[in-house]
Symmetry: C2
Subunit: 221 residues, 2 copies
């Protein structure tokens, strides 16, 4: 019985790692659809979001069954409670990737992102990718150091967003209201993906150490 | 022991109800700060968000302790797992109220919302208020009917957002890029508040009936 229990608990963690790799693909593909104005990829990202929602439902059910059947305590209870939150963070990142793909689809065959913001969004997407990967690795290796680095990446993400606003609110912006609004919303989506990765990292630190990480208020993560 | 347990469980639900009433005040005040360009109210909303974060932390701890000490099953386990999610939804609504207040503060002494969008945002805020109130009442009375109405309100919210885009992307928009970007982000914040209220309603239906509500995929809520 105990062995099955630990297998089931490991299975939940492994599924979260696999879900994070799926989310990474979705964000990567959504960015390609966006920057290359590729309708086929955009449609695929939007359709594939249902797969992440199914994973969400499945992992949540497993956590619930573990709680009901095994009455876990201490570190194991922390793991399951954190998993319930992390599966939600991952599902939200997936939703946000689908939102990005929907803007790409809406503007097709035009590019939603104008030339002066391309490099900025490319970097935002790279950072988001690195952050989801780091969250997944942290979960896999239980490496607190890795999770702590997420906060640094998040700072760069905030700077990139501030730069976007500077560009699109400048007097020489010549791409009109629609492209400015798209860029502001897209920037918000990438920023939120990063926030969810940071929140995951904080949950993992909590699982490993039993303490909420220092710094900001815990629920703000 | 069992009596204390049920008292503790009731206490969690009561605290969620009280938190929802706090969130309602925050959204209401953020809207006043926004539509009346009132800096004093904006600052207060931003400062008071820390109180909601503290409630989040406190309720989450209580849920964790209930799980650790009481090994709940069936309906009680569902209630606690749902509470862990609902406290997060409420904290996010609070964050979004603070985001709205921050835009009001950023544009002060100007109004962030131009005249052609005032009625629209007023209605969005009324709907958001009604939805948070309905989610709180549902939690208090365990009334599934009330929760089901949230989906209708959410549809009107989506229509209001679509109208906003029509107005700010129209050829006769004369309020510039900055006000259009503000409006798009503000619209997104109110829409997300509504989404969180709907998600809460769905969690409550699940707690009461033991079944995920019909319709959309459960985790999408």
């Amino acid at each position: 019985m105990r062995e099955t229990y630990h297998e089931e608990l490991n299975d939940v963690v492994n599924q979260l790692v696999s879900m994070s790799s799926n989310v990474r693909t979705q964000v990567h593909d959504a960015t390609r659809a966006l920057l290359e104005a590729d309708l086929r990829i955009a449609e695929r990202v939007i359709a594939d979001d249902a797969r992440l929602d199914a994973m969400h439902e499945q992992i949540e059910k497993q956590c619930f069954q573990l709680l009901a059947r095994q009455a876990p305590v201490a570190g194991e209870l922390r793991t399951i409670v954190a998993a319930l939150r992390m599966v939600f963070e991952l599902a939200r990142m997936g939703d946000l990737a689908a939102h990005i793909a929907k803007i790409a689809r809406l503007r097709y065959p035009e590019h939603a992102v104008p030339a002066p913001l391309e490099a900025n969004f490319t970097r935002m997407a790279q950072l988001a990718d690195a952050m989801i990967a780091a969250a997944g690795r942290t979960l896999d290796d239980r490496d607190v150091e890795e999770a702590s680095k997420l906060a640094e990446n998040d700072e760069e993400m905030d700077e990139l967003r501030a730069e976007q606003f500077k560009v699109l609110l400048a007097d020489d912006w010549e791409h009109g209201v629609e492209m400015a609004v798209d860029a502001a919303l897209l920037g918000r989506y990438y920023e939120r993906i990063a926030d969810h990765a940071v929140a995951m990292g904080r949950r993992i630190i909590y699982v490993i150490t039993g303490e909420a990480p220092d710094g900001e208020n815990w629920p703000n993560a």
